[in-house]
Symmetry: C2
Subunit: 322 residues, 2 copies
């Protein structure tokens, strides 16, 4: 939950004076997102999300993130549309922080996604990959193998505090994964964080995708690997083959995967699992505890790493089953 920076009505009215959005009726800090401060605004025209970008976001990345949302929206992808200021800019400033106003998307994220949700997520992911093909800006993935290496260096000495043996087990995996990491697969703009809380549904239909603040250029199939990790494991850490098959079939109904992508899928899944294990581990070891802090368990992703380690081919994820 996240409101790191509070804002006053005076500041907000002044900020909104630069936008063609009617008059302010209310604003509430919302408990979503972990990196930025987010407010839900009602104006006489509509509802909006105001995001204040906090320290962990590089200001120089904002044109990529906001431009991508605009680009995807223009291509018919249902995602928030950044509202242009009267001077044409997408980025304003409030309370000393860069900030953007984006349209509010109705819809709910699924705490308990079903097979049908997984299929639609696969379709939407492929649609985004295609829609972003001609997006002109580029952004390196800060959480590619090189970035994992920095995280791992920062916490491998303390990993065993979380679970005895973790340093050795994850270290071996890390070396294997990074050593074999592919570079010759189709690449493009990926969402890179398409977890259930970033996908909205209304009446069972996918109604929107949000939170493009990890989006970057990377291997397209790596985005699928992240979705398999995020959507297709049950709370007991077991892989739900039916959900995986549906997600993959949904994706391939829009953009069929090349053989090389399918062959690489187990390794990409391992890489995605270690990426989330590492960011969670890093937060676990460095963020102080508190009663309202819900730190996510890195071991959830260690269990995924173990699962993927024993996979021999993409068919074990359900390719071709649905």
């Amino acid at each position: 939950m996240a409101v790191y920076t509070d804002i006053s009505e005076d500041e907000l009215v002044a900020f909104l004076g630069e936008y063609p959005v009617g008059t302010l009726l209310s604003y509430k800090g919302i408990a979503e997102g972990t990196e930025n401060s987010n407010f839900l605004l009602h104006t006489s025209d509509s509802a909006f999300i105001l995001t204040l970008y906090e320290r962990r976001v590089e200001t120089s990345d904002l044109p990529f993130f906001l431009g991508l949302m605009e680009h995807l929206s223009q291509k018919g992808i249902s995602c928030p549309l950044p509202v242009k200021r009267n001077d044409g800019e997408l980025i304003g400033q409030i309370a000393g922080r860069p900030a953007a106003l984006i349209t509010f998307l109705e819809g709910m994220w699924m705490r308990n996604p079903t097979v049908q949700h997984c299929r639609q997520v696969g379709e939407a992911l492929a649609q985004m990959h295609i829609a972003a093909e001609d997006f002109p800006l580029q952004r390196q993935n800060a959480l590619s193998p090189e970035g994992w290496g920095r995280l791992w260096d920062g916490c491998r000495n303390r990993a065993d505090e979380v679970m005895p043996g973790l340093a050795k087990e994850a270290g071996k995996d890390f070396d294997e994964i990074v050593g074999q990491w592919p570079s010759d697969l189709p690449s493009g703009v990926i969402h890179a964080d398409l977890f259930p809380d970033n996908v909205f549904f209304l009446n069972g239909k996918l109604s929107g995708v949000i939170d493009f603040y990890f989006a970057c250029n990377d291997l397209l199939a790596y985005d699928i690997a992240t979705c398999l990790n995020a959507w297709c494991f049950e709370k007991d850490a077991s892989y739900n083959l039916t959900k995986g098959a549906a997600l993959l079939a949904g994706y391939q109904s829009v953009r069929p995967l090349q053989d090389a992508e399918l062959e690489a899928l187990p390794l990409l899944c391992r890489g995605s699992a270690i990426r989330f294990m590492l960011t969670r581990l890093y937060d676990w070891l460095t963020i102080p505890d508190g009663p309202l802090i819900k730190k996510r368990d890195p071991l959830e992703y260690l269990r995924r790493m173990r699962f993927h380690r024993q996979i021999r081919s993409a068919s074990e994820y359900g390719v071709g089953l649905a």
Copy 2:
């Protein structure tokens, strides 16, 4: 900020099935309130607040709180209206917690209230006092002198951890205030927590009052004392006489104060200040620290206690000046 309990779309749709509010479009946990979990809902009909009552709220008090909101709303006070379920009940249940759905009030709370805001708060407070005169339910103030005593017993031994000398200074004040506490002043239903974050304004006009979860039967003038403490001190702890005069004049324009109430005002202000000092002190000493925890400084209210201690008559608060 407060979302202690998350809810799933399934649970929420089932819960809303009991209410005549249209179909659910979205819900967001909001970072307001400190005792309960609050969600802002959009439905096909309108916007609502869903409140899940957490442990610190006594379920047996809910009919008083919700009934009062209904009563005040029917009397023309702009406050949230609890929505009745199809079976006529005001209280439902979700995620194992008692919960209520209330109408969403547009408006913003003032981080930097002006003299004009203070005047309107005074008026609204008096209007509420009058509108609640025939409210049939009763609730004892859990934070009357008896309640302060329990808080003080629970933290006096550790008070000097916050400021050396606090135990002695506050102990002396405590004894003086409790020893002289009046009982023969006009009483009725008071809001008891009418801080700026509980009063909304739109275009400079008071548009609503929220958060009746401390409301109770007590001395009406004690509610004024709390408003003076909450609205009329600047960030440097100085009393703003112009704001105080406006708040009091606003109140008296609707319900003139009796001489006995005016005479008691300095003591009531001291009592209200020690009440908030004590709850803040208790939280300060008992709630663990955390990066997202903003505990409120008890010493802010010690400074108010010191100010009120040297007041000799209500005129020093600005009675008769505006």
